[in-house]
């Protein structure tokens, strides 16, 4: 049995309106994630800001109440816990935060800060508390005397050491570390990480590490879960996931990290666009609006990058639509043409402007597809965007937009949620440009 088992963990924030607090929509910060953490193991959750990784951490510790899902700690479902049980659970599960500056009370000596969890959890003898604090400070590489000093006397790295000491004071089994080294300099970063590894061994801790930093995750995690827009898209042993990513998002994420080697410049896959809003995540696969490997419609064989841009057009038509006035205005800004009124331009001209806006090449690499796109762009240019959207949806239907990809088991402990199989992902990720 794993120490921590998370099943279908969900956290939605309602967006309300008016005095009656009517719910108008919800931000799906975490939308049904499953993972587990074994005793003594370090598991990472990696993803970009807004993917829900921090919310996952706070809701599994019930710092925020999860909307749904089961969190089993040592076999017990902690989502059922009452106040007393929860307090007992929190002694065994501690958290470390990103910013060591704001996680200490500036008017409390470091010793008092480190001893505070002990006090809360019922150790009333100050001498014993003091002895534990001094021992812990030495274990994290500081001296016992530091207990009497105040937060401003310490550097960021030292504060993070003390934060570790504080988390360890109640002898927990499990630590959630939310971006523990993101605020630190490189030279300090690896120091804190190796300290964490040492302590983990000494105390036989399970650690859940939340980070956006691929390097950090790779350095310390045994297994990793990659999150995108509230969902886990891929998980597995860290080295395997990094060496051979099965999900296009993982592949793109890995290759976005600049390699410290000037001879490998610009070799990464570039993701276009921004992360969509979690209050209105895309249908089907949530990554399809940015995915470089988005699957082509059946019966067509376009250049992948051209197809990617066509999907951008489709996405725009589905959401805000293409603004012809803006196109004309932009055209006027870029060329000598004066008019910003779309009525002054012919259908062909407007269609070309739309094509240019989405960087769609003149030829898609498939004559049949060219024909469909041309008709769609003509509809856009004549203002009949519904028709354009219907046509594209009918002709250029892709499974990525329609169906949510199931999480596929690749082998025991390794899974990925993509309609493509792994080999194709690797090929697409490498064939960029």
């Amino acid at each position: 049995m794993s120490l921590l088992e998370v099943e279908g963990l969900t956290k939605h924030y309602p967006v309300t309106q008016g005095v009656l607090k009517r719910e108008v929509s919800r931000v799906r910060a975490v939308d049904g994630i499953d993972f587990d953490v074994e005793r003594g193991e370090t598991v990472g959750i990696v993803g970009e800001s807004g993917c829900g990784k921090s919310t996952a951490a706070t809701s599994l510790l019930r710092i925020e109440e999860p909307t749904d899902g089961v969190v089993r700690f040592d076999g017990d479902d902690i989502t059922d816990y009452g106040k007393a049980d929860l307090k007992r659970f929190r002694r065994r599960a501690q958290m470390i935060f990103q910013n060591p500056k704001s996680s200490f009370d500036p008017r409390m000596s470091m010793g008092d800060s480190v001893a505070e969890p002990l006090k809360i959890h019922g150790m009333s003898d100050p001498n014993r508390r003091r002895a534990i604090v001094e021992d812990l400070l030495e274990r994290v590489g500081l001296s016992a005397d530091d207990a009497d000093r105040y937060p401003h006397e310490f550097s960021g790295g030292q504060k993070q050491r003390i934060a570790l000491a504080r988390a360890l004071s109640v002898n927990p089994d499990f630590i959630v570390a939310d971006e523990p080294v993101s605020a630190l300099d490189v030279s300090i970063k690896s120091e804190i990480l190796s300290l964490m590894e040492d302590l983990q061994e000494q105390f036989d801790l399970a650690v859940l590490l939340i980070s956006h930093d691929m390097g950090v995750v790779r350095q310390v995690c045994d297994r990793v879960n990659v999150m995108y827009l509230g969902e886990i898209v891929e998980s597995g042993p860290t080295e395997e996931v990094f060496e051979n990513p099965q999900h296009p998002y993982t592949a793109a994420l890995m290759s976005s990290v600049p390699t410290p080697d000037p001879r490998k410049r610009g070799m990464g896959t570039e993701l276009t666009g921004d992360v969509p809003s979690p209050s209105n995540p895309p249908e089907g696969c949530r990554f399809h609006t940015r995915c470089p490997a988005v699957i082509q419609p059946e019966g067509y064989d376009m250049d992948q990058s051209a197809w990617r841009n066509v999907v951008d057009l489709k996405t725009r038509l589905r959401n805000e639509g293409v603004d012809l006035e803006a196109l004309a205005e932009q055209h006027a800004a870029e060329t000598d043409d004066e008019s910003t009124d779309p009525a002054d331009y012919g259908t062909d001209e407007l269609a070309d402007m739309a094509r240019e806006e989405f960087d769609i090449p003149a030829q898609l690499g498939d004559p049949g597809a060219d024909d469909v796109l041309e008709r769609a762009l003509d509809s856009v240019a004549t203002g009949d965007q519904d028709e354009a959207q219907a046509l594209l949806d009918r002709e250029f239907a892709t499974v990525c937009e329609r169906e949510e990809p199931p999480r596929q088991q690749i082998h025991d402990g390794r899974s990925s949620a993509c309609h493509l199989d792994g080999e194709t992902v690797g090929a697409v990720a490498l064939s960029d440009d």
Partner: protein, 408 residues
């Protein structure tokens, strides 16, 4: 206090033939666009004078990307902000040195003269795009302002230019979004807006201070590519401040490594990454996973020196694994050529001074060269022959260094 003479530069003027092979892209023989020499920036605080920048020198040639890399407190941001005197004065003051830009010493200019340089010939991009934009005006309004402040054009023309700039920095649907307000843009898009504003005056030099640090990696990759495109398209020189060696490798033509207000090492990007000469640079590289012979990283240990009371001798010596007694006395060692007598790759370390045994420090450099990791990183697309990477003169060092394959 003769801080001024601790950086005697072996400037040989024309670059030597061996050196010419190292350069690519920007013309190293041209007149520098920006030339900082022996810059001293001090802050008077209650605890004493902080020599945030203590004798920093480097040149930026037209169209070149120079990365200034260092940890927090190294003085990299103060250096960048001192170029156009964006630092608060007082408590800050430029205590010495010159900043030559287009033949004029910027440290001598009046406020009014400086304003005509700032934003027009030198553009700024900051770490936090939120702070650089005014929340109550539309982004179009702000770019129009930037355009009209520096060029005499009509409102309509400025508006068109704003749309064009937004489109050029990769904002989709630019003509519509030009009327939106900063809060309606995502972090990455906001940084694009800031870049568009900086480009409005068509500057010769962009100073980018950690422009991608607040962004996610996928967005960082987009912004880095955009800056690269701008540099190539407009031949804009960029001074790029960062703490991230990955970003340096991606962007730089030349690198300046700073520590505690001093330049530790300076040189061509390939030189610095393949033969990191200064023990500090070497230590930074060892903090990165996948460098050197082992996969493990190694922490530097210790902490940055007290800014009001830096150690004597080399600022890095208390944390340096190679430090000898001589490191702890006198001034920061002068920058000496690592391979050649010229300015192409210099380090401020006692071992490169005449009369010291540089075997160990050079061995460490060799171990850290990218190709040095046993077979782990060497398989780029190695078919292309390494073209003339000054290997002849470097001797044994080059064997490892070249395995990486093609140039760009």
């Amino acid at each position: 206090m003769s801080d001024t003479d601790d950086e005697t530069e072996p400037r040989t003027g024309a670059t030597t033939e061996t050196d010419a092979g190292v350069r690519d892209g920007p013309d190293a023989d041209s007149e520098p666009l920006l030339s900082i020499s022996d810059l001293q920036v001090h802050f008077d605080t209650r605890e004493g004078t902080v020599r945030a920048v203590d004798g920093v020198s480097f040149d930026v040639h037209p169209g070149e990307v120079v990365c200034v890399v260092g940890e927090s407190g190294s003085g990299k941001t103060v250096t960048a902000e001192s170029i156009t005197q964006l630092i608060d004065m007082p408590p800050g003051r430029i205590a010495g040195g010159e900043v030559l830009f287009g033949g004029r010493d910027l440290t001598e200019l009046s406020d009014k003269q400086l304003r005509s340089v700032r934003g027009s010939r030198i553009g700024h991009i900051f770490q936090n795009p939120q702070g650089a934009l005014n929340p109550v005006y539309s982004v179009g309004w702000q770019i129009r302002e930037a355009v009209r402040l520096h060029r005499d054009v009509s409102k309509e023309a400025a508006h068109e230019e704003a749309i064009d700039l937004l489109d050029r920095v990769g904002i989709p649907n630019a003509a519509e979004r030009v009327d939106e307000y900063p809060h309606e843009f995502s972090g990455g898009m906001r940084q694009r807006v800031v870049i568009a504003m900086a480009l409005a005056a068509q500057p010769d030099l962009l100073i980018a201070d950690e422009p991608t640090t607040a962004l996610d990696v996928t967005i960082q990759a987009q912004i880095l590519r955009l800056l690269k495109e701008i540099q190539e398209e407009f031949d804009t020189a960029i001074v790029f401040i960062t703490h991230d060696l990955g970003v340096v490798a991606e962007m730089a033509d030349r690198v300046v490594v700073m520590y505690s207000g001093k330049v530790m090492e300076r040189g061509d990007v390939y030189e610095v990454f393949e033969r990191p000469a200064h023990p500090y640079t070497q230590a930074l590289m060892r903090c990165l996973p996948g460098r050197g012979r082992t996969e493990t990283t190694e922490a530097i240990g210790g902490s940055l020196p007290e800014p009001t009371d830096p150690p004597d001798g080399c600022r890095f010596h208390p944390r340096c694994s190679l430090a000898i007694e001589d490191c702890a006395v006198g001034q920061q060692p002068a920058l000496e050529g690592v391979e050649f007598e010229d300015d192409s790759h210099v380090a401020s370390c006692v071992f490169y001074q005449p009369g010291y045994d540089d075997t160990t420090v050079r061995e460490q450099a060799r171990d850290l060269s990218v190709g040095g990791a046993d077979g782990t990183e060497t398989h780029t697309d190695g078919d292309s022959a390494p073209d003339g990477v000054d290997s002849e003169s470097a001797g044994a060092d080059s064997v490892d260094a070249e395995a990486g394959g093609e140039r760009r």
